[in-house]
Amino acid sequence: MGQTIAEKILAAHAGIDTAKPGQYLWCKVDATSGHRLADLEALGVDRVWDPEKVFQVDDHQAPPPTIVAANKVKDLRRLIKKYEIKNYFEYGRGGILHQVFAENGMYAPGELVAQCDSHSTAGGVFNACVTNANLDAVHVLAFGELWFRVPESVRVVLNGTLPTWCVGKDVILKVASELGTDYGLYKSVEYVGPVASQMTMAQRWTICNMGVEVGAKFALFEGDEKTDAFLKGRVNRPYEHVTADADAVYETEYEFDLSDLTPMVARPGDPGNGVPVESVRPERVKVDQAFLGSCTNARLEDLEVAARILDGKKVHPDVRMLVSPSSQEVFGEALRAGYLETLVDAGALVEHSTCGPCYGGHLGVLGDGETCISSSNRNFRGRMGSPLADVWLASPATVAASAIAGEIVDPREYL
């Protein structure tokens, strides 16, 4: 019987030939993050299993807005030195972990990574099994291994041709609106089909990033020349693309024809509340804040499309637009390409690369009754600040167009 991508990768890391859904395995893990170093120290362990394979960056309260946060990151730096962690990225050389770790070669096809932060499913864009370990990331730090229940696999076939001005974000909002936000619960989701091939790495990345928003353990794409192009110069170890066998067994297979897709927004409350933007247009939803940032949609091409829409135009007088590139590397590229200049001229506030506004931490928390259109990943009540605020999720193009209009609009009106 054939195997899915996740079954192959988990079996290889457990030292067995085949893995079956429902099986519990102890697997060797290829890399993890350093979030749990303090827990390792508290357990009395004086070394990590492999300092080369631990990556860390401070991104949520970065740089620290309070003395408590400053002392926390100060202690992190002490632990980084104590445990001789090589891949640590200081402010000005870092950004949001999922982007920074990838830029620095943490993920390669066929690998298994368990690290902190729920959006770790993002790493599946590299044809690797990347998922969240939270408390038990300390187990990886100590032993280089972790238990997994082999997940059932589901396959999402993306057919057709993606219309101009629709991107990965519109695809995942569409898929989640039809299948619900639990179709991937405990599962490995493989995205395949013509649209999967057509999409850029950045677009696929958004879909994998929001893997956790549909409950997935892994959200995977196959590897191709676009994967290799991103990894070139970043990953120097050998790797091989992993594909599912022709007779691999999927619990469910879903098919979407995306040729008629139009830009999507998710109404407040749940990422599965997606509807076409044009259906919301008549409601004239006023926007107080437009946020272009987060690990979901703040890559170079996201900033490029926003700059193209805002070029020569102004952010609406009643709107503040916050822009936070996904990493310092992306910040530099966008700076040199002139995108940030365009955004600044349009009246946007360009922040450093941070998780801050997305999780309601700092640098753009919402007040009572405010409305935000956001390129991020979650619109749960209270997510970005006040429980009385509304968060709508959309693509970078829709965020940029809405920033100009002062209300939620279809980006095609502005292109």
Partner: protein
């Protein structure tokens, strides 16, 4: 095996997709890392059920929820539920990350298909966390929840009382710590 495996408590019911943002609001907890575990727990369900954590829930109560309980962020919301002395969590389905956090925190959290229609808020349940048998003490009806199979890693970790005691034993066994 000092863990109390049969637990009786009064039920609070919640709906589908109860996120960890509801249980541990980011602007309250993540933005204030010096907040004690007990103080953080006071904000549990603040956005969706104001006042519940501060004045309604009692030690030993049982939380019943719908599908996809604990969706969203990987923050360890079980820590807040434990601080409120919730005895057991039963849900139609539980997010993967939250389920692992619950096991690692030593908070029995069982997937119990059918639980939403099985019990009303305020009724009492008796839950055997090893066998997964759930009894409604008000109606005498029983329901089978999915228990962890004996010998599986999550079973071993939960029965050890959580990840910390589990790891201490393993570290000693491998000679990585002394004592």
């Amino acid at each position: 095996m000092a863990m109390e495996t049969v637990r009786v408590g009064r039920v609070w019911k919640f709906g589908d997709h109860i996120s960890t943002d509801f249980m541990m609001p980011g602007h309250r907890v993540l933005a204030n890392p010096d907040l004690s575990v007990e103080d953080a727990a006071k904000f549990c369900m603040e956005a969706n059920r104001p006042g519940w954590a501060e004045s309604e829930v009692q030690p030993g109560d049982i939380l019943v929820a719908g599908i996809n309980f604990g969706c969203g962020s990987s923050r360890n919301a079980s820590q807040s539920l434990k601080a409120l002395n919730i005895a057991v969590v039963l849900a139609e389905s539980v997010s993967r990350i939250h389920l692992r956090n619950a096991v690692n925190s030593g908070l029995p959290t069982l997937v119990a298909p059918g639980i939403s229609g099985f019990v009303e808020e305020g009724q009492s349940l008796e839950v055997d966390i090893v066998t997964g048998t759930v009894k409604n003490l008000d109606t005498d009806a029983t329901l089978q929840a999915e228990a962890w199979e004996e010998g599986t890693p999550p079973y071993e970790i939960l029965m050890a009382g959580g990840l910390e005691p589990f790891m201490k034993a393993k570290l000693k066994e491998r000679g990585l710590i002394s004592g």
